[in-house]
């Protein structure tokens, strides 16, 4: 059983997607439970794999169907891939259980299809992460992408157009990658990553290899939506349903970053990537542009999910820039940020789901008075937002710490400046929301003997959401005297608890980031990178 864990991580969701699609014809509730159980099994397997890799310190190599490498397809679970597997399966699992209600209402009569696509997408990402074969990676990338297009297309009325946009650019990206792999195969005759890593150092000067590197990287950059090839992302993420966005937004870009790290370090080797090509200056410049563009564009958004989408573009810049700094601090920061940003994005999109459940739309201006109406949710949201801003001890601070350290060590002060700038912009973005949720609608307060405040206040201003009165708990503290009764109505527990769990996780990830870096990420980076 344990020896087959690497297969289990991907096979279970893959089969579950088939079963879920079929089960939808017979029972409308079954697909959801099938998906949840499959993702849970996959998550537990990933955790066990990570524990095993950390304990033994040796990568697990699993030969699919018993064919040995380099001819057969091998799955390689090392520190890096095990960690990313845990992230993927965790996000997929938590997002699904947290959004059960949304799944039931938004995808009525489409439960089978939705849940099947959901697990299929996860299976694709899991496979991409675990595989040690460059071509197999392309196949799984397409599985994930195609199911991703379908998931996004199930969203709002404008979603199909956004999906088409995504489909065009996504296909171009994937094709570029495939083309790169083709060139590699022509030049080396191998598709196995470990095998390629032994061949490439002997062919450093080959222009075919160089071209393969550039075109692979370009394809991945399109897929991760870095500026200026980001155009597909904001539409795709904001028009899709929240549960799909909660799966796709935290994972797609992050897994693509992982693939980039994997291709650059494992396949092309650090000697080739950083020693021979040395793309630091140009890649960091692109990253800086992405950070600044993403942050400024986020400022212009009125829609909450759209704002988050632009923040993601900035965050992609964090990771790409950090990685291409080429020093241990920067690469550590980029890898740590894969974990942290996935958790933060998940928390924020789950918050978006709750806001939509509460207010019915996605405008920031609809968030008025939410601190009073759902204090627990808003406490979690505040924590997640502060993590994005980078306030210690949340996890966002620590990835930023490594990234900035790496930037200073590499002398890339423009990158350091961009990170600080983006933190400040994020502070503005989220405090703008805090203000709406805390201050508005404005109350006219007055004091017993306040001479200056002659304006008569209308007592008993009531904020009541008509749909929720019956189950609401009346807040009758004697201190809410002249602001009327505010009805506290939190989302149902199955929605609230996973969300708050993720928010608390942001603190835990922050406090234990030292352990994550020392025990996992440290071993994921080749010794050659100092």
């Amino acid at each position: 059983m344990t020896s087959n864990l690497p297969a289990l991580v991907i096979i279970v969701p893959l089969l579950a997607s088939l079963v879920a699609a079929g089960a939808g014809w017979f029972n409308r509730k079954a697909p959801f439970y099938i998906a949840v159980i499959a993702l849970l099994i996959s998550f537990i397997s990933s955790v066990l794999l990570l524990a095993q890799v950390v304990a033994t310190g040796v990568a697990i190599e699993y030969q699919m169907a018993g064919w040995p490498a380099p001819v057969g397809i091998v799955y390689v679970i090392d520190h890096l891939s095990a960690m990313v597997l845990v992230v993927i399966t965790f996000v997929a699992f938590v997002n699904l259980i947290g959004n059960r209600q949304a799944v039931e209402t938004e995808f009525k009569n489409k439960e089978g299809a939705f849940n099947a696509l959901y697990v299929l997408f996860t299976a694709g990402l899991v496979g991409m992460t675990a595989t040690g074969d460059a071509f197999n990676l392309y196949v799984l990338l397409e599985i994930a992408s195609l199911s991703g297009y379908a998931l996004i297309g199930l969203g709002s009325s404008r979603a199909p157009l956004a999906t088409l946009n995504y489909l065009f650019l996504g296909t171009i990206g994937a094709t570029f990658y495939l083309l790169g792999v083709g060139y590699l195969y022509i030049a080396t005759g191998s598709l196995n990553m470990a095998d390629l890593a032994t061949i490439i150092p002997s062919m450093m000067n080959s222009s075919t290899i160089l071209f393969a590197f550039i075109i692979c990287l370009t394809g991945l950059l399109v897929k991760m939506a870095i500026f200026p090839v980001h155009g597909w992302l904001p539409g795709a993420y904001s028009e899709s349903s929240t549960v799909s966005a909660g799966l796709i937004a935290p994972l797609t870009t992050k897994v693509t970053i992982y693939i980039m790290v994997r291709i650059c370090l494992t396949l092309f080797t650090p000697e080739y990537t950083f020693g021979y090509i040395d793309p630091t200056d140009i890649m960091v410049a692109i990253a800086v542009a992405s950070i600044i563009f993403g942050s400024l564009s986020a400022l212009a958004q009125k829609d909450f999910k759209r704002m988050l989408s632009y923040i993601i573009i900035a965050e992609v810049g964090y990771m790409v820039g950090g990685f291409f700094l080429g020093n241990r601090m920067g690469v550590s920061g980029a890898i740590l940020h894969i974990v942290n940003d996935a958790a933060m994005t998940l928390a924020l999109f789950m918050a978006a789901g709750i806001f939509i459940w509460k207010t019915g739309d996605e405008k920031q201006s609809s968030l008025k008075g939410l601190y009073a109406k759902m204090p627990f949710t808003m406490a979690g949201f505040t924590l997640a937002a502060l993590s994005v801003v980078g306030v210690p001890p949340t996890c966002g601070f620590f990835s930023k710490w490594y990234l900035i350290s790496g930037g200073i060590a590499a002398g890339q002060y423009l990158f350091v400046g961009a990170l600080i700038f983006s933190s400040l912009i994020n502070a503005v973005l989220f405090f703008r929301i805090f203000e709406i949720a805390l201050f508005e609608p404005f109350k006219s307060h007055h004091h017993a003997g306040d001479e200056e405040d002659k304006v008569e206040s209308h007592h008993g201003e009531t904020i009541v959401d008509p749909g929720v009165i019956e189950s609401a708990q009346q807040y009758s503290g004697s201190d809410s005297h002249d602001h009327g009764a505010i009805v506290i109505k939190e989302p149902p527990l199955p929605m609230l608890v996973p969300f708050l769990g993720v928010c608390v996780l942001l603190l835990i990830l922050g406090l234990y980031s030292g352990s994550i870096v020392n025990n996992i990420i440290h071993f994921a980076i080749p010794a050659g990178i100092i």
């Binding site: 203000e435 002249d482 922050g510």
Partner: protein
């Protein structure tokens, strides 16, 4: 007297105790039970802090590492004499302020008192955390926690004025800490490899003079809570808060955390040798002096009592910075003492301002004529508080000012002596002209 480092969880408990009380505060069914939680936590906190006093007076240092967050930096507490002094001031004044808050908030029938008391507890926790920080990262963590916890307190009234003041508050405080302190801290870490507060600083030998000057200025302005001009204007704006908030946070906790952080960074990170060798301290002294004089002059023209007190605070905070930057023994003693002395003096004045507002609803000095006769006890307290802030013996403020004056003489730079003396006259002017008016106008009526 043996100097020892003792491992102790007391600093951690002292920080956490008010956080632990929050679920109690939030879930209480009646106001009295809720306030009992506050007092319970405040009492335990003070006792914990005081219980460390004998050990520290014997020259020991208490440390505790909560968690190793970065390979060579942890969230670590260290209790030394200076930190403990600040913690005692903050935790004892929390009790006083809590009593005052109850009277103030209930008599004005303020809304959201539960939120108010909860965030007050967070703010005090953060203040003690700053006092006990063993390294710059831990200090930064609690500094940010304090900034964020005070935001809902400053904007308590939730009206448009509160919103614009809250914006200003965040702009300066968060802008300073993220935009200046964070990069300065990271650059320091990059060159020195440590952020621990060391007796002689950590920069010497690692950082050249130009960069050291840049970093010092970044820290000085970045810790905007200390209110060195031009980073001061959040403080008058934050006076929209309920008066107990202004009293504890903007005369004691928040602003003194700023001063404390600057002192810690100057002595523990930059190091006095580096400061004096390159004359960096001279620049800091000039910046502080400008703030002292200008703030005192502005205070003269303020009609709203709390704003006048705010500008007075801005000036007094720069005394602390000036004292430290003089780099003489007396100057440093005076600066550190002034954190405590000014805290007690200024909190008295704020309490009086709040008492006047509660009793009469008056905020403006020009409308306060004759109030000395209506509220003789309050105004006597006000007089004593202002005597202390101006620096009359035998008030506490005299002692710290005495050391500060000695410090300027020791440093041999007489210009700063004149700054101190001149500003004391201005202090006297803005308090006594007003105090005498309060009493005399009543007679004339």
């Amino acid at each position: 007297m043996s100097m020892e480092t003792i491992l102790s969880v007391k600093p951690l408990f002292a920080v956490l105790v008010s956080l632990v009380a929050i679920p109690g505060i939030v879930s209480s069914r009646s106001q009295n039970i809720r306030e009992a939680w506050t007092f319970g936590a405040a009492a335990i906190k003070l006792l914990l802090v005081l219980s460390m006093l004998p050990l520290v007076l014997d020259g020991n240092v208490l440390t505790f590492t909560l968690v190793q967050v970065l390979p060579d930096i942890g969230i670590t507490f260290k209790v030394d004499a200076f930190g403990l002094l600040f913690a005692i001031v903050a935790s004892s004044l929390w009790i006083v302020t809590s009593i005052y808050s109850i009277g103030y908030m209930r008599s004005l029938n303020e809304h959201s008192q539960t939120r108010y008391f909860s965030f007050f507890a967070v703010a005090i926790s953060a203040t003690i955390g700053v006092a006990f920080s063993a390294n710059l990262l831990t200090l930064y963590l609690f500094y940010e926690m304090l900034s964020l916890a005070t935001f809902p307190l400053v904007t308590h009234h939730q009206d448009k004025e509160a919103r614009s003041s809250g914006r200003k508050y965040l702009f300066y405080i968060l802008g300073g800490s993220i935009g200046l302190v964070l990069p300065a801290m990271m650059i320091t870490y990059h060159f020195t490899g440590t952020l621990d507060f060391a007796a002689q600083g950590v920069m010497a030998g690692h950082i050249n003079s130009g960069l050291a000057l840049l970093l010092t200025v970044m820290f000085l302005f970045g810790f905007a809570k200390v209110g060195i001009m031009p980073m001061h204007s959040w403080l008058p704006a934050a006076m929209v808060a309920p008066t107990p908030v202004s009293a504890l946070l903007h005369a004691v906790a928040v602003v003194k955390v700023g001063a404390f952080s600057v002192v810690r960074v100057f002595t523990g990170i930059v190091g006095t040798t580096l400061l004096s060798d390159f004359g960096i301290n001279g620049i800091v002294c000039v910046l502080a002096s400008i703030t002292i004089v200008v703030a005192s002059l502005i205070a003269l023209s303020q009609d709203e009592l709390k704003r006048r007190l705010a500008f007075s605070t801005i000036g007094q905070l720069s005394y602390i910075v000036l004292g430290i930057a003089l780099l003489t023994k007396s100057g440093m003693t005076g600066g550190m003492l002034h954190i405590a002395m000014h805290a007690f003096g200024k909190i008295t004045l704020f309490f009086c301002a709040g008492a006047i507002f509660c009793a009469t609803g008056i905020k403006y000095i020009s409308k306060m004529k004759g109030i000395g006769r209506r509220m003789p006890i309050t105004m006597t307290a006000f007089l004593i508080g202002s005597l202390s802030v101006v620096g009359f013996p035998p008030c506490g403020g005299f002692i710290s000012k005495w050391y500060l004056v000695l410090g300027t003489v020791e440093s041999g730079n007489i210009a700063f002596l004149f700054v101190l003396l001149g500003s004391s006259f201005l202090n006297a002017a803005y308090f006594f002209r007003f105090s005498t008016m309060l009493f005399s106008a009543a007679k004339r009526r």
